[in-house]
Every structure is written in C-alpha cells, then in structure tokens.
C-alpha cells in the first residue's frame, strides 16, 4: 500500500512541478517568505534572478502567509526539527529566537563584515546593544511608518502635512466631510496597531519597553498616545479606525486611501509603490508629526538563518543573502517596493543617480531614520506586543475603554505572567 502511494506521489509531483524546479546538480535551500501581493512578485523575481545568475545554488521560495502565520509555521518547524535554512522575521521576535538559540551566527560567514548595511537598519541600529551581540539578523524589508496624503485634496484645501499632533487634529477636522449625518470622507485613518502606537509613544517622549527589559508601556506617554487616538476616533469622529485584525486592518487602510474615503493615512513606506501606482490622484508622502519629539519605530523584517538546517543549505542561503546585499539588488528591491535600501552603497547610488530628486516620496522614510528608535533586546517584546498590548489597544480605541485602566492592566499582566 505504502509503496504504491509513494510511486503515485512521485509521478504526480513530477507532473505537478509546473513552476521550474532546480536543475540537477544545484545546491537547494528553501526560503520561507511571508506577505503577498506586489512585494511577493518582486521578491520572487529577485530569487529567479539569483538562481539564473550562477550555477551552484538554487533558492526555493515557499509562501507561508502573513508575518504571523509565517512566524507560527517557522516556530512549528523549529519544534519539529524541520526548519528551513532561511527565512525572515519581524524585529520584535529576533531577541526571543536568538535567546532560544535557534538562529545561526552570521559573523563567521565569508564577507559578513563587509556587507556595509545602513546602521539604523541593521542589527546594530535596530536593537539597543545590537552591535555587541553576535550577528544573527540582516535587514531585508525595512521600513518606517510614514504619512500618505491625497495630493489632490490637500492641494484643493491648501493644506500642508501636519508637523505636530495639534496640526494633525486640525487637518483631520478640516478634511472630514459629512453628508446627511454620515461621514463621507474621513480626514485621517490609521490601523490601530502596536507599531503606530509605538510611534506615538515615542513622539510623546516615552518607550514601550525600557532598555532594561521592564515593560513600562510608555508610562504617561503611553496613555497620552492612546488618548490621542481616542480623541480622534471617538471625540472628533475624524479618524477612521479600519476594521479587521492585523494585516486586514492595514489593507483596509490602503483601500480606503485609494478610494478617497480617507484623505490622509499612516502606514508603512512599504506600500509606497503600490499606492502610487494605484491611486487616481497624486500621492504625497510625508514624515510623521512629533509631539514632545519626533520618533518612529522601524518595521519590516530581518533575514535570519536557522541553526538546525543542513550545512549545505546554509551555504546556499548565505550566497543568496550576499546577493541581496549587492548594490544593484538592494536598489531594485527598494525602488520596486518602497522599502528602504539596506546598504550604504545602495543609498549612495540612488542619491548619485538623482533618484530621490525624481522621487521625493522615497526619501521620506530614509530621512526619518534619523529619528528612528531601536527596540530593546528583550525576549518578551513579541509576547508583550501580541498577547498583551495589541488586544488592549483595540479595546480602548474601538471599545472606548478607559485608557489608564487598560494600560495598567496590561502592565500588571506583563509583570505577573512572564
């Protein structure tokens, strides 16, 4: 019975291999990637380019869903001792994985020191004390949150991008249109997500998790950040909180912006090309406003190699990582998507070619790196984000729950149940 099944499977698999498989003799390594749409296409094109540019290695990309689904699968695979050689994960979870000793140290790989990553995007700049630790993460699709403005509406109303919270509130009020008691267009929209809340907390002068790992949730700044959202959503009614969870909400924000249902949104620079290409109006990117100070978190993911993968696969994975850090490819990745170019030589090339002069929107995220705040190297960061903070943000803003109560509860939980 089993033999028949296996033969069947082999025959079927041979037939089913429509997407070109690796030619014989190549060293194959799987790359588990997440997120779809346009960015997926760009990544797959780069993978194809890598596979065709040399004859030794072959990367097999496997799609695993969104960041959280993909992370779940990666952790499952680690537990099942079937992890791929290469994947990419959000910055908040890297310390946890590193401490669990599942990440491969990259220091010893050839050329690791010469990769010339942009400091704010690499390990050194992404985590406090990142430079002193063994290298485990390289930047992949790195981003900051930025504001996108509907160019036509802003020009019509003769408004500029808000630079402070008060200005944001005023602009949102000006741009919200009502008809027959219903809101026809919102002035501002933003996913109720940890990332943007972290940005607000930073702007209000606080840090979500302190450098020593204690979960302060920004203290007073955390409450002010949450209250700001609540004011915009519940009091003024000028901010559209997009529905749905995680990336459903992000996607809804984009759609609302494209359909002119919202005049100004905050979302990742990652969607720059997508929005520019699909908007029936000029898209203007702008940096986020500040309150006490200007601050943004960085986002996106980092490449990681998994220690338990076979050595041959890791060698192939490394070859691909070097490929992605070559100036040309870093430039292609950044300019096709909106993510930041990860090497200094890529940035220099883009500046030298006058790219930013022609595409000022792309500069916004890059310039914001000057005020980017690193995460603490804390193994609890991801858990605090997912389990404790995220649900309470939604509860406070969407459910009208008392801000201080929600945050106090979150802090208590974080301390009690490590």
């Amino acid at each position: 019975m089993k033999l028949g099944r296996r033969a069947f499977l082999a025959a079927g698999a041979a037939v089913a291999c429509s997407s070109a498989g690796p030619p014989p003799g190549r060293k194959v390594a799987p790359l588990w990637f997440t997120y779809g749409g346009k960015n997926r296409q760009v990544l797959e094109a780069l993978v194809r380019s890598f596979n065709q540019s040399q004859g030794e290695h072959w990367i097999k990309p496997v799609y695993q869903g969104d960041y959280f689904e993909g992370l779940a699968k990666l952790r499952t695979a680690l537990a099942a001792r079937r992890a791929p050689a290469l994947s990419h994960v959000v910055g908040e979870v890297v310390p946890y994985l590193a401490d669990a000793d599942v990440l491969e140290s990259l220091d010893t790989y050839p050329g690791a020191r010469e990769l010339d990553v942009v400091p704010a995007l690499g390990q050194a700049g992404s985590w406090i004390g990142g430079a002193e630790r063994r290298l485990v993460a390289l930047p992949f699709n790195r981003s900051t949150p930025i504001a996108y403005l509907n160019g036509r509406i802003f020009a019509e109303q003769k408004l500029a991008a808000p630079k402070t919270w008060e200005e944001l509130r005023a602009v949102a009020a000006r741009l919200t249109e009502r008809a027959a008691g219903r809101v026809v267009r919102y002035g501002f929209g933003c996913p109720i997500d940890w990332w943007f809340w972290a940005a607000l907390v930073g702007q209000a002068g606080g840090d979500v998790v302190e450098a020593d790992g204690s979960v302060s949730l920004g203290g007073d700044a955390g409450a002010r950040a949450l209250d700001f959202w609540k004011t915009l959503v519940l009091e003024d009614g000028n901010m559209k909180p997009p529905p749905g969870r995680d990336y459903n909400a992000w996607e809804q924000t984009n759609q609302d912006f494209l359909a002119s249902r919202v005049a100004m949104i905050w979302t990742s620079t990652a969607f720059l090309k997508y929005l520019e290409e699909n908007a029936p109006f000029p898209v203007v990117a702008a940096p986020l406003p500040g309150a006490t100070r200007r601050a943004v978190p960085t986002g996106g993911t980092h490449w990681v190699m998994l220690r338990s993968a076979p050595e041959a696969e890791k060698a192939t994975a490394w070859a691909f990582l070097r490929f992605m850090h070559e100036t040309e490819n870093a430039v292609t990745w950044a300019t096709s998507t909106g993510y930041l170019p990860v090497t200094r030589s890529a940035v220099a090339k883009l500046e030298g070619d006058g790219y930013y002069a022609k595409h000022p929107n792309d500069r916004v995220a890059l310039d914001q790196l000057a005020v980017a705040r690193p995460w603490p190297w804390s193994r609890d960061l991801f858990r605090v984000q997912r389990e404790i903070v995220q649900p309470r943000l939604e509860g406070a803003v969407l459910g009208g729950r008392d801000t201080r109560a929600a945050l106090d509860e979150a802090r208590a939980l974080a301390r009690r149940w490590r």
């Binding site: 099944r5 079927g12 997407s19 779809g36 869903g65 537990a79 759609q255 969607f271």
Partner: protein, 278 residues
C-alpha cells in the same frame, strides 16, 4: 390527506413554494456569485462587484491561481491523504467491527469502551502531543502525519459492527467449517456483503478528510504535503488589496471536487449522515 379547508390549501402551498424557492436562492446564489466573480477582471470587480454576470469569460483569475501555487501537487496531496485515511480506516475497522460484533473474548467490553471513548477526544485535544511525538520521529510534514493519526474511525467501527450484527452466525460457522481462516472471512466473505455500508462510509470519510483544514494546518510546514484547503486559504493575501477574483477562482477549484462527489453519490452520503454520523 383529506383537507376540509380546500380554499386555504393552494394559498398555503403557494406560500410554502415561495419560501422553498427563497431557501434555494439563499443556498445557491452565493455559489453562483462566487463563480461569476471568478470569471471577472479586477477592474470589473472594483467597478461593479454585484453585477450578476461577468462581462466576459475571463480565465485570468484561474491562471493566477495556478501561477501562485502548485495546484496539482496540492490536489494530489489532498486526494492521496483522504484516500489513504479512508482505506486505512476501513481496513482497520473491518476486523475490529467483526470481533466486537461476533466474537466472545476476554476484554471485549474494554475494547468497545476504548473505541467509544475516542469520540470524546477530538483533534483539537490531541494535536500538540501528537505533533511532539511525530516531531521526535521526524515525521512532521509527511503523509504519515496526515494519515496515521486518523487510522481508527469510531464511527466506521460502529457502522461495521452494526451491519455485522444482522449477519447470521451460521454463515460464518459454515465458512469456518469450509476451512476459511478468520482473515479470509473478514475480508473475503463479510466485506463484500457490507458493500453499501462500506461505500457510504468510504465516501463520507473521504470527503470529510479531503475538506479537513485543522489537522493539515497543524501538521504541515511547507508545500511538500500541503493540502488544497490550506493552499486556497493562503490566497487571501494581505497588504496590497485582496484580489477577489483570484480568491473566488481558488474557491471554485476547492469546492468543485466535494460538490462533484456530492452530485454523483448523493444517496450514499446522505445515508451515512442520516445514520447519525458526526
């Protein structure tokens, strides 16, 4: 049925007919709209999402589905898995049902009790330890992980036992006197007699496991043995606009086999369900 209020009858019948027609619409229209959406282009959907008929017969969405995933491999994986499970369950349940129905031996009550008890332990209760166990043997993300844990079907065992209870003992004794081994009796004599039951059960189990999402979700990590429900569910990509025509095309491909089996073998499936299976 004699009805004294003859005037009310046609009106009542009419109302019921309308009601039934509505019911048919409620259950059919969503699928028709799904099909229609799958044949549209994205601009068309943005413009007129609820237009009942596509303006053209666009197969672009189906092409996109085929490009986005190894569809044939998923289909094959799913079919093999469901087939493997259904066949294994029948092979295992036949002797078990026979022993429980016909034979007297020490421990029969215990065995029967064990089979009943498994109805209380659904997949969601056992998946983590089973996962850990399979991981220890390096069997996660393999057909074994998808098939073996379902090797026993309490439902199937009971069905077979029930059916065998009505087979006269004399038949079996006669076969024994003819020198047939118990093995031959179970698989060679009784199994063919139980064909309708086995066919119903096979179809029921096949469709049920073909459609399963939870277990493959937990037990697979990549494309090697990924099943179709998982693959199609991944179509709802995030971040740059859900492409509904593609998601619906994938859904058409996912629903078609189950609906085909249903269309061809309705009676058998209904029989299995009506005999109080889950």
């Amino acid at each position: 049925m004699r009805e004294t209020r003859t005037l009310r009858q046609p009106l009542r019948e009419g109302v019921i007919d309308v009601g039934l027609g509505l019911a048919a619409l409620v259950w059919l229209l969503p699928y028709l709209w799904m099909l229609s959406t799958s044949l549209k282009t994205l601009p068309e959907i943005v413009r007129a999402p609820t237009a009942p008929l596509p303006s053209g017969f666009e197969l672009g969405a189906y092409r996109a589905v085929l490009e986005a995933m190894p569809l044939a491999r998923y289909f094959l994986n799913t079919t093999l898995m469901a087939l493997g499970i259904a066949v294994l369950q029948i092979l295992v349940a036949l002797p078990a049902g026979y022993a429980l129905a016909k034979l007297k031996f020490a421990g029969r009550g215990v065995a029967f009790g064990m089979v009943v008890a498994t109805l209380l332990i659904p997949a969601q209760v056992r998946f983590v330890p089973v996962f850990a166990l399979l991981a220890d043997f390096g069997l996660v993300n393999s057909m074994t992980a998808l098939i073996l844990p379902f090797g026993v079907s309490a439902f199937g065992t009971f069905l077979i036992r029930q059916a065998l209870l009505s087979v006269p003992d004399s038949l079996i004794e006669a076969a024994r006197m003819d020198g047939a081994s118990e093995l031959r009796i179970v698989y060679g004599l009784l199994a063919p007699m139980l064909k309708p039951t086995l066919v119903s059960f096979f179809l029921f189990s096949f469709v049920y496991h073909w459609n399963d999402y939870f277990w493959p979700l937990v037990m697979t990590t990549d494309d090697a043995v990924r099943t179709l429900p998982l693959g199609i569910a991944l179509l709802r990509e995030q971040g740059t606009g859900v492409r509904w025509h593609i998601v619906m095309a994938g859904n058409v491909l996912l629903s078609a086999p189950a609906l085909a089996v249903f269309a061809l073998a309705q009676k058998h499936l209904l029989r299995a369900v009506a005999s109080k299976g889950p």
